[in-house]
Structure formats: C-alpha cells, structure tokens
Amino acid sequence: MNDMRLTKQDVDMQDVKISAKGVQVFYGDTHAIKDVDVEIKDKTVTAFIGPSGCGKSTFLRCLNRMNDTIDICRVEGSIQLDGENIYDKRVDPVQLRAKVGMVFQKPNPFPKSIYDNIAYGPRIHGLAKNKADLDEIVEKSLRRGAIWNEVKDRLHAPGTGLSGGQQQRLCIARAVATEPEVLLMDEPCSALDPIATAQVEELIDELRANYSVVIVTHSMQQAARVSQRTAFFHLGNLVEYGETGTIFTNPTDPRTESYITGRIG
C-alpha cells in the first residue's frame, strides 16, 4: 500500500506520457486484460514482464490501437496519450500510430530496398520536403538504429537480405524515422544473438533521451538492464508496477517474487 502511494507521487513529479485506466480487453469471450491501470512516463524505458500468455503483447497493442485490426478484439476503459483519450471516436488510429510507433517481435522489413524501408514512413507522412531531406532522414535514422555503418554502402540492396539482427535494427530505424513520441517494442531481441541484443539495448538506452519506450521482454536481465520502470503481468492482471530496482530486489507481491526467481512462468 505504502509502495503504491510512493509510485503515485513519483509519477506526478515527472511527465506522464500514457495513462491507462481500467483497461479491459476481450478476444471474443476470452478476457485477456483485466482492469489494468498504468501510467507510463515520458523519456523513460518501461518494461512489461510476465509469463507467456499473460497479455503483455495484447496490452502493448492497445497503446497504438493495433488491436483494431483484430476483428474479435474489444477494448474497454480509457487510455490517454498526453491527456487525450486514444479510444475517443474522433481519433484516427492511423494518425495515432504515427505518434506511437511499434517494433515487432519478428523482424518484418518490407521486401524493398533498405533505403525505401526507412523512407516509406517519412514519405507517407510528408516529413521530407525534397530528396536531400529524405536522404538525411534515412541516414539519421539508420545511425540511430546503430546499423548505418553496416549498410551505408548498400542502401539500395533489399532489406530482406540482411541478417536477422540487422533486420531488427532496420525495423527500429524504420520506426524512429517517422519521429514517434512513444516507441512500443514487443520482444525486439527474441530473435537476436547476444551481440545484436547488446546493440539494440544500447540503442534503447539512447532512444530514452527523446522518447518514451515500452518494451516487452522475457528476459529478466534485459528488463533490469534497460528499463527504469517495470510492470509485471500475470493472467491478464497487472500485479505490480514500479521502479525496476524495487521490483527486482524487493517485490511486494508473492507472485512477482516467484516469477522473478523462476517459480512461475
């Protein structure tokens, strides 16, 4: 109880980027997310952890309304981005997704050139006035994706021809190219080797300077390394949410403790 109040104060002091209240998600009759309240802070990395099937991806996909693409999915409650409800009738999800970018678990570059992969977002959002502008955006994004040095000589080679780790960094670069305010990452390192993982983690740390990053991960070490705040989900409930350090060293809920120590999952 005491902890919860502390968290509240903490949040009030810093900017709250996304604030979810009483979120419920149903897939048909399946109740996948049960009454979740979360406040995600700006310029912070927030990690979602929890056993498989507990609803991490589902909740993440609520934050940029990717769940709209699933016919049977129904979302209740309110999620506010900078104080505006993203499930308001007036919100166009397409416009929202330009602000809340997403990187998927499996690298999914377009079967186009590396350049076009990055340039696509800026093109459809009209972020570049001319070719030189676009070139600059592409270079900047690839640098931020920590992949520029590897691909600068073959920008017009197909993005699908890269290795898995390079593809994932390309996807991250593609996501940052549209200048989102929030970046959602669903297990971005699950297909990567330790070296690529380290690169991506480094990248996430850099991104924190400008964005609010939410990352789903199955690796407790990763959550501990990259995030400042951690949320633990279990069977659709948000069990515990707070400073990463606190969650890992001194969890309040017994379920969190057993998960972290490897007894449930």
Binding site: N64, M66, T69, D71, V94, Q95, R97, A98, K99, G101, M102, V103, F104, K106, N108, P109, F110, P111, Y120, G121, I124, H125, P158, T160, C171, R174, A175, A177, T178
Partner: protein
C-alpha cells in the same frame, strides 16, 4: 570366472540389434515407400504417354492444313467480258458477276493444260473442276481492285479444289473418286503432269491463319483469321472487365470486409460460381444481355461479357489466395508506422500478391479463350465468320465467331477437308494457350520477391 560373468550382459536382455541389417518392420516400410513411388512414376508416365499421343495426333492431323495446293494460270482479262462499257469504271465493272468470269478462267486453264502437252477430251468447264470455286471471285476482285489490268494477261495463283488438295496430301485416292461427282480419275492424271511441270504446287498457306471462314463447299478457302480476331476482341472485354472487378472484389473481401455472416455467404457463393457449368453462363448471357439488354447477337462484346462472368470467380479465388499468402507481418509493419489500411494494401500487400494475381488472371483468360459452350447460346457458334470486322467498334459489335467455336464448326462439317482444318485450328488455339501460360510463368518469375 565370476569376473568375466559380471562383464557379459544379462542373458534376459533382448539381443542388441545391428543397424547393418534391416529388420522386418523397416523392410515393410521401405517396400511400402517403393510401391508408392512406383505408383507415382507410373501415373506420370501414363500422363506423359497420353500427352504425347495427343500432340502427335494433333500435329499429324493438323499440319497439312497449313499447306494448300495452288494452280498458276495466266488469264487474259478480256475487256469484252470484264469491262463491257470500256470505261474502266469499277462501279460499272462490278456488274459482271463471278459467273461472267467463269468462261475466262476455264478457257485460260484449258489453254495452260494443252500448252503442257496434255491432250484431253474433257470440256474446259469440266477440266476447271480442278480449280476451286473461289477462283472466279479471286480474279474478279483483283480486276476490280486494279482496273488497269484489263486487257492484259495476268498470272494468277488460284486455289485448287479441295479434292485436288486432298489428292496431293494423300487424303483422296483414285478409288474414292469413283464415287465422287466432283472429280474424276482422269483429272488426277492431268494433275500429275501439271505437278511435274510446276503449274500445280502445294505451298505454305498464310490464308489459313489470317483468312476468313468459307462456305461448306469450299474448305480450301477457309481460314481461322476472322474468328481469331473475334476471340481477340472477346479477350479484350474479358481482361478489361474481369481484372479490375475481380481484383477489387478480392481486395475488398480479403482486406477490408468484416468477417460476418454476409461475407461468409458471399464467399461460399463465389466458390460455387466457379463450379457452375459454363453453359449456364451462356443462357444467362442470352437472357440478360441479348433479350433484356438488346445487345446484338453473336457479337464478341456479348461473348466477352459472358466469359467475364465465367472468369470472375477464377480470378477472385486466385487473387484472394495470393493476398492471403502475403504474411500478415507486412501489414503490421505498414500499419505500425502509421500507414493507412489502403496504403498498406496498395503499397505493400498488392505488389507481393502480384505474381499470384497475374497467374490467376492469365489462367482465367486461357480458360475463357478455350470456352465454347456459352458461345453456343449467344449465337457465336454456327456464325460463319466470313468477313473481317471493319474497325474497332465493329470488332466488338459486329457478329463474329471465336476460335474454339470455329473449330467446332469445322469439325461438324461433312467434308473431310474441314476435318483437317479443325485439327489445324486446334494447333493455333494450343499455341495461344501455351503462349499465355509462358507469359504467366515469366510474369511470376519477374515479380517474385522474397520476404
């Protein structure tokens, strides 16, 4: 003793099997596998044998249709016959009918025969049975096209009659002529001599490919060209209508439509439509386009509309299969960076589905090209395609036949010379289908991309 005993395995354990010998179970499985492979190879060999037999019979029967027997005859274009007024006015000259030209040609041919040292007691009229009945028309048309020729002796390459052509192709024998009123054995002797003299020869015949159909009694004159044009205009209609409608329908159903009872019903019905016999589409076309819509009978436009109805389900089914084969991660990727649904479909999904869509469309078109049954009911089968359409509009609206309808029509006619032409037509039809399939393969290769 007891020490050695301890090292040997207990006798109760099963003997260790060696992997160097195959046990009964493995043998049985291997035999089953070998049998299955043999069935497969057998089926393929049987299929290839049928294909080979088909090709051999088609080519063997059809190739002769591409050559034709011609007789080279110098004809004196007597002004007294062809230009009675003497003013070289084509309108006036047209008053001389083909009948008027007959004596000219008969006499010219008789002269040619005697000049080659042949003596015969046949009258010129009977002698000219060697020539096709179309000869008079050919000479008349040449004169009308160029009145300056009147009064000159012009060398004409006239079609021989189909009996003579059949004789050169080995189809007509002397015995068979005993029962034939059109030609006598005596004619054949003359032909043999004229052949050595180079007056009668059998050469490649472009007119079969590009020419028009002829009447029942003149198979030597018939060509598939006009019905080919009919098929071409039909295919244009089919392509222009079924590709956009089919692709748009598929995109809507696959990417945009909510999955509910209504779309389920539509889906099931599209699959059912693909299985509807084509003749049903024919009668639908008759009722809707001709009787209700008052479009002209036998017109390639109507044929194209009917074939569009028939092709649409094929295109829709293959396009939807191609769309759903595009991995959903591509759609997520596009949506995830803020592309709209439509942008994600048109920029990413559609290009990836393109090879499948094009293949489906071409296969649908190829099906439509070879389809005969629906054309029966809208009057394209049985129409004698004897005139090239003049102009694009006429190409769509003027009555015409189509390649498979033409082939059916020829196969139905009594004269064996037409039978040969039916096979010849099949070769062209197959060449078209093969070309379309090759194009489908090439397009698929060109557009195929990894993801």
């Amino acid at each position: 003793m007891s020490l050695a005993d301890a090292n040997t395995p207990a006798p109760s354990a099963a003997p260790k099997s060696s992997i160097l010998t195959t046990d009964a179970r493995t043998k049985k499985r291997n035999r089953a596998e070998a049998r299955f492979k043999a069935y497969g190879i057998g089926a393929i060999v049987l299929g290839l044998a049928f294909l080979a037999a088909l090709l051999v019979s088609i080519i063997g029967n059809g190739i002769p249709a591409y050559t034709q027997t011609f007789v080279t005859v110098p004809v004196y274009l007597d002004p007294a016959v062809v230009d009675k007024q003497g003013n070289r006015d084509p309108a006036e000259m047209a008053k001389t009918t083909t009948f008027g030209y007959a004596p000219l040609i008969q006499n010219a041919f008789a002269t040619e025969v005697s000049q080659n040292g042949i003596t015969t007691d046949m009258a010129p009229k009977k002698l000219a049975d060697i020539l096709s009945a179309s000869a008079t028309g050919q000479v008349r048309q040449t004169v009308l096209d160029d009145p300056e020729l009147v009064g000159q002796t012009v060398e004409f390459r006239l079609l021989a009659s189909s009996r003579v052509d059949g004789y050169l192709k080995g189809r007509v024998t002397r015995e068979a002529l005993a029962r034939d009123k059109n030609l006598d054995a005596a004619h054949l002797d003359i032909i043999d001599t004229l052949r050595t003299a180079g007056v009668v020869n059998r050469t490649w015949n472009w007119d079969f490919i590009f020419g028009a159909d002829a009447s029942e009694s003149r198979p030597e004159q018939a060509g598939i060209g006009v019905s080919m044009v009919g098929s071409l205009f039909m295919m244009l209609v089919v392509l222009v209508l079924s590709l956009p409608i089919g692709v748009a329908t598929s995109i809507y159903l696959e990417e945009f439509a909510p999955k509910n009872r209504w779309t389920d019903i539509i889906e099931v019905n599209i699959s059912n439509l693909a299985a509807v016999p084509s003749i049903v589409f024919g009668i639908l076309g008759l009722a809707v386009f001709i009787q209700f819509g008052h479009l002209p009978k036998s017109a390639p436009l109507v044929g194209g509309l009917v074939l569009t109805l028939m092709t649409l389900p094929t295109i829709i089914i293959s396009t939807r299969a191609a769309l759903s084969a595009v991995p959903p991660s591509i759609r997520d990727a596009a949506l995830g960076i803020g592309a709209s649904k439509m942008q994600s479909v048109f920029h990413h999904v559609l290009p990836l589905a393109m090879p499948g869509i094009l293949t489906g469309t071409i296969i649908g078109l190829a099906q439509a090209l070879g389809e005969t049954a629906p054309l029966l009911l809208i009057g394209m089968v049985g129409y004698i395609a004897s005139n090239m359409p003049d102009g694009i509009a006429a190409g769509f609206m003027a009555p015409n036949s189509a390649m498979p309808a033409q082939i059916y029509e020829w196969a139905k006619r009594a004269d064996p010379a037409y039978y040969e032409r039916a096979w010849g037509g099949i070769i062209i039809l197959l060449l078209f289908l093969m070309t379309m399939n090759i194009i489908a393969v090439i397009l698929r290769r060109r557009f195929e991309r990894r993801w």
